[in-house]
Amino acid sequence: MNKARSNLLNSFAAHAVLITYTLIALFPVFVILINSFKTRKAIFREPLSLPNADSFSLIGYETVLKQGDFFLYFQNSLIVTVVSLFLVLLFGAMAAFALSEYRFKGNTLMGLYLALGIMIPIRIGTVAILDLMVQTGLVNTLWALILVYTAQGLPLAVFILSEFMRQVSDDLKNAGRIDGLSEYTIFFRLVLPLVRPAMATVAVFNMIPIWNDLWFPLILAPAEETKTLTLGSQVFIGQFVTDWNAVLSALSLAILPVMALYVIFSRQLIRGITSGAVK
């Protein structure tokens, strides 16, 4: 920040608030991480102490990797999340482009209809969705989850993206039309790169709920070969006995991919809109 405009007290206060918030937000994650490296006894004796020579143990990770098909769960979660995100972004952006770019009868109505899903939680329709999946034979397939998550993510994606698409210069799209680019090329090559920050926002908003969801995997795809990570971790939580080492280790491992995806998208978030197109 510029020296002339900064004030020592203000910036100290701002940093104090932010650091406090960061500590509070990271504390549970920190506790999970340190305890995942401790013996069961040590977890209960001193949950807040760091693992030392006595209490250090990888038993949790061993259990997780041995018991159940952890890598398969991992893979399932990743496939469901990535494919759903891809479909949400693709169809959401296409719908948003059509709504913001073309004048047609019922344009506003269609926009409202597509945004309706923001207000109505998709879980209300669980029974109907299950029924539908049973009848189409999609139960216990990853497609069941992908389709549901895509439907769940689309309303917000359309809503956010159409706002951003409206801001993309008309001149640029028209220049493309005059140069003979097809509407698809205009959409993919000219418009999408300019709304990349908005796409990243939508991706981050959608990614975390999908990755962490327990509801739909439990109902639509509880079979061993389609279990997601969140569902798979539940085997360690029993009604009477809970294998805390395994639960904490599984949770620690589950954080990693979300973090990786978040880093990828947040870089896009931060990177400004490609300048130089207009003005």
Binding site: S169, D179, G180, L181, S275
Partner: protein, 331 residues
Amino acid sequence: MTALSLKNICKSFGAVSVLKNIDLTVEEGEFVVFVGPSGCGKSTLLRVIAGLEDATSGSIEIAGSLVNDIPPARRGIAMVFQSYALYPHLTVHDNMALALKQEKQPKTEIAERVDEASRILSLGDYLQRRPSELSGGQRQRVAIGRAIVREPKLFLFDEPLSNLDAALRMNTRIEIAKLHRTLKASMIYVTHDQTEAMTLASKIVVLRDGRVEQVGAPMELYNNPANRFVAGFLGSPAMNFFPAEMVGGRKGTVAGVRPEHLRISQTGRLAGTVVHVEKLGGDTNVLVDIGTEDNLTLRLFGQYDIEAEAKIALDFDDNHAFAFDQNGKRI
């Protein structure tokens, strides 16, 4: 040959009618400027010609063929936009080459045309740069280059100078005029700036509220405006209007005199008080309150010491005055 012919073009957005019965022809090699206040429909008309908007009714012919149902890319036109609209992900060279690649022109032909355009616009040093690495004036030259390489039957310019600063605007204006002389191409140019219209046009089309008010050569419009709107729109400072009664004219009519045709005269017919004096060095503009709604502007060539609040009387030669009826029509 006729480069463009518009017959009875109407355009409406829902209930709002933006263009009303526009008839217009542009001859080959002509530089036609559409001028008018904002919202007069000049940009919409350009978009209709380009094919970016469909006309509600009427026919559009470019170089003799009906293009109503032909997409913009195949109308034989090229367009330069106000905001440049360069493709941000392509280099200057690729920006210019894109349209030709889309037309599936042979590589040698593309290279030749891009070289030629970059020579005309002296863009040779920038060919490998991205638009974001160029200044405003350079970007506008690239946008013009992108139009030139297509060798269109008709160039369309949509307020291309509005985003440039004053000095650059004048330079680019001269470059566009030079370009028109070099290429001898038909061009249509939209602007709200009457200076650009006067200096560039071989033919000016003055538009207001979606109608053509008058068409003609710049000096013809300046010297012989068809109505009060055209008279007031062209010329800077704008023409003075006052009730004709004040100078012995017919009641209800309006007299119009250009600022440079007014002169100070002790026995002048228009007596008033000086409100403000603008000294520009080369000339001096004097605003005079003669009791009408708008102040009169008097343009004197050279430097004068006139104080505000001074009493002053103005006169003019009757053959320099215009008369307009109540509806603004010239009498």
